[in-house]
Symmetry: C2
């Protein structure tokens, strides 16, 4: 008796999550693979979404005293030879520039020519080149703190790539700061983690855990790595951002020295922190459904799309005028700090195709406006957080008066749903057996859905951590910050300072 | 009797213009050379200025129907082998990636490893990679026009570099559009030139000539190159932006084909256009003076800087409060479409040094606020377009009421002065002798100041153009657009369709 529900995305989420993800990216027209190995083309809708992230984060960085700067894309090889521990990981996967010219080869094609004296690396991160600048810019305590951010592209030679989640080239921001004292630098590391968490919770509607990486998972060269972790719909974890306290490691490797108020030469304490276009992958895997992308209203490039239905109209231009005046009124309303974003879709394509394209793009509110709506001075409205066929007529005045609280309600609804999902799939586990059972799929069941997170005590033994990783593919996502209750490690029987979060990770 | 006037910049403009330019960039803390050959570090004040350019231009691009997208940094070599004419110039000076790893070499240093099957080039421009995407994205006339813009970094292996004017890596935007007809594409090429001219005239206060390049100076692969040209203070020309009508050259090389409404496969007509961080060089050489940068108010990252003078105050915190409340009031005033930008400089350095740092950075209005100003409810104001020592007390209320017209007046003043400069140093010349004399420095005088522009008839003979270029270092800057009066070419005696602009170029 039950009719198969038709969805915009095939396969559906529950059938094949990784493939569903790729299809959502495609259906929402966010990005595509490029002819360049491992690199993606970010299409206009994906680019607009990233610009929204940039705009909001950039405001937060400026509010916390940072200024943007821009450093060279290409980094001399000798810079990578300075800080061995840090560089090792990056040197294994970087694009190396060795020539500065192409010239006609014997077979008519172009061949590299003009070999460089010193190879250059396309930046995988800018710690080294920014550190060099800091060593020149900082003289005395008066120059501190130095709070710099950069928006940039970086390249890491990834072999197995997935759009937004892992690509050879990606866009990101990297903050780099120098401080007079360890305390100040630690405080700043935490402040920036809070900025990231604020952005994820309140703009992306993606609830995140704030925590600390174990030594094994720490950024090479950092004294401490803080992170935010989110549970995706398939119950795997996505590391959405990191904030590193670098101690004096980089300042010693790079001579970042200041004169304190007694005139003594002192090494600075530095931090770095970053988020990337990976956030868009997190957004998809937090909110999208079997009809495509679902955008949290505060971050949507447009909150409202208006679809004029003119094919039966006696006077199509009158319908268009009605739509345009509605758009103007909407743009006069401030939501989340800026005018409501409105698209009018007057493309020359079938109405159904048009509507579905906006469902798949995840725009929060769709309005279909035909001659009857115009005659009744109303709008025919659909919400992206409800089934696509559920639509209702609303008087124009009422719609305009209630749009802001409606968007707020949708934003909150998305957050609440994601938080409930995480809560439902996070379990306190106190025995090794239960832990192993929780993270082991039933035999013969290649389910794409994972267990979720475990909160278990852990003594911190690195060998145990390694064994669990190799046996179950599970790592410590983070140690929660703040007060902790001690207990017993279920793996070793040793004392444990606190429960930590475990899970499978993207 | 005349005292030597002390200036912030040494040497002064009239002594050594190129060196003065470098010193202004340094004094305003806009950018610096980096340890990477030919690449600059854009410092926070320079970055803020570029962000202002981006914000305004991006709004203009969106208002004319464009969407941003992002394409790969690295371009496979085979893409450069497709469009020979276009690529030739770029292939001679590009960064070539040949390896994807560094590994420990025999002497302990790192050496390139993991050679690529096909070398990649760091994009010198994105025509080729965007063209490939267009060939996939465009199917029918319904997909046209396709209007895309990209903000990106590009690399061209320049040997002789100057900050902002010519650097190996620079930041720019590149617009790429595809159209159904030649007429539409030509119209779009002109529209984008107008957008650039609007930006330069009305935001940068830098008057530009709009014109067309001669065949010799045209972009390789273009059917027509339009450009804007500005006269710098040393009377040389700066090409500030270009807009290319590419005809069907690229669409044929890259199979950018659409089905027209009769179902026929037709090659698109394409355009491309770009401006870069070079604009900041133009801004400096249009407005800066012997005290440093002078910013046009509409484009300044901050229109007002407040310098609290607290060292003699009984209650320094009261002065700070007065400054902060003033800043808040200023931020409540909209100028050029956004809240007035205000900096409060509470750095712990000498007052004179502090004031001069903002003079050198070119902030339009400086306010020094001490206990007396507070007591009188006034501000002590200096304008960047007047001598640095000229300051006046103004009642706070009056200041707030008149700040917007004052900024408008300053903006207009900068534009008028630059236009008068160009007019003064542009001469109609009708004989070859006068032309040669005009562009030849008096013997033994290695003056850094050039003649200016000549408006002379020109028959279009390419040999003549080449000869003048090699003999005088002078080129045709552009043929003005619009109606023209025919005449006689002073170099050949042949008929000439119009006067064209000649000059020395950056």
């Amino acid at each position: 008796m039950s009719a198969k529900v038709k969805t915009a995305i095939t396969p559906v989420r529950s059938e094949n999550y990784p493939e569903w993800y790729q299809q959502v990216v495609k259906a929402a027209d966010l990005a595509e693979a490029s002819p360049v190995r491992g690199c993606m083309i970010i299409k206009p809708w994906g680019c607009a979404l990233w610009e929204q992230c940039q705009r909001v984060l950039d405001g937060m960085f400026k509010d916390t005293g940072h200024r943007n700067a821009y450093f060279p894309l290409l980094i001399p090889k000798r810079f990578l030879e300075k800080e061995a521990e840090h560089v090792e990981g990056f040197a294994k996967e970087c694009a190396v520039v060795t020539h500065h010219r192409l010239e006609a080869g014997p077979d008519g094609g172009l061949v590299p020519a003009g070999e460089l004296d010193e190879p250059l690396v396309v930046r995988p991160t800018s710690e080294m080149i920014i550190g060099e600048a800091f060593s020149r810019w900082i003289e005395s305590y008066r120059d501190l703190p130095l709070l710099i951010n950069q928006w940039a592209n970086v390249v890491r030679w990834e072999m197995r790539t997935r759009l937004f989640l892992r690509t050879a080239e990606f866009l990101w921001q990297e903050g780099h700061t120098a401080h007079a004292t360890s305390e100040e630098a630690v405080e700043h590391t935490e402040r920036m983690l809070d900025v990231y968490a604020d952005f994820c919770d309140n703009w992306m509607a993606m609830p995140v855990l704030r925590g600390r990486k174990t030594e094994a998972e720490r950024f090479p060269g950092a004294d401490d790595t803080l992170c935010i972790e989110a549970m995706m719909q398939d119950r795997k974890a996505l590391q959405a951002g990191t904030s590193h306290f670098l101690g004096q490691n980089f300042s010693k490797a790079q001579d970042i020295i200041y004169l304190n108020d007694k005139g003594e030469r002192t090494h600075c304490w530095t931090t770095s922190w970053g988020v990337s276009t990976r956030l868009i992958g997190g957004l998809i895997m937090t909110h999208a459904d079997d009809d495509g992308l679902v955008l949290p209203p505060r971050l949507a490039p447009a909150q409202v799309v208006i679809i004029p239905i003119t094919f039966k109209a006696d006077d199509p231009e009158a319908v268009m005028d009605y739509c345009r005046s509605l758009a103007e009124e909407l743009k006069g309303i401030v939501y989340a700090g800026r005018p409501i974003g409105v698209e009018i879709d007057d493309r020359d394509i079938r109405g159904g195709e048009k509507t579905w394209s906006w469902v798949k793009k995840g725009v929060p509110i769709r309005l279909e406006i035909g001659p009857r709506d115009m005659a009744e001075d109303s709008v025919f409205m659909a919400r992206r957080d409800r089934p696509a066929k559920e639509k209702q007529g609303v008087p124009r005045g009422t719609f305009l008066e209630t749009i802001v609280p409606l968007l707020d309600e949708m934003q909150q609804g998305l957050y609440d749903r994601a938080l409930a999902h995480r809560t439902e799939h996070t379990r306190e586990i106190d025995s090794k057996e239960e832990f192993y059972e929780w993270f082991t799929a039933p035999e013969g069941e290649p389910t794409p859905i994972h267990a979720g997170f475990a909160m278990s005590h852990f003594c911190g033994d690195r060998e145990v951590e390694e064994r669990i990783k190799s046996e179950l593919g599970v790592t410590v996502l983070c140690e929660p910050l703040g007060d902790a209750e001690p207990g017993t490690c279920p793996f070793t029987g040793q004392p444990s300072p606190r429960r930590v979060f475990w899970g499978k990770s993207y």
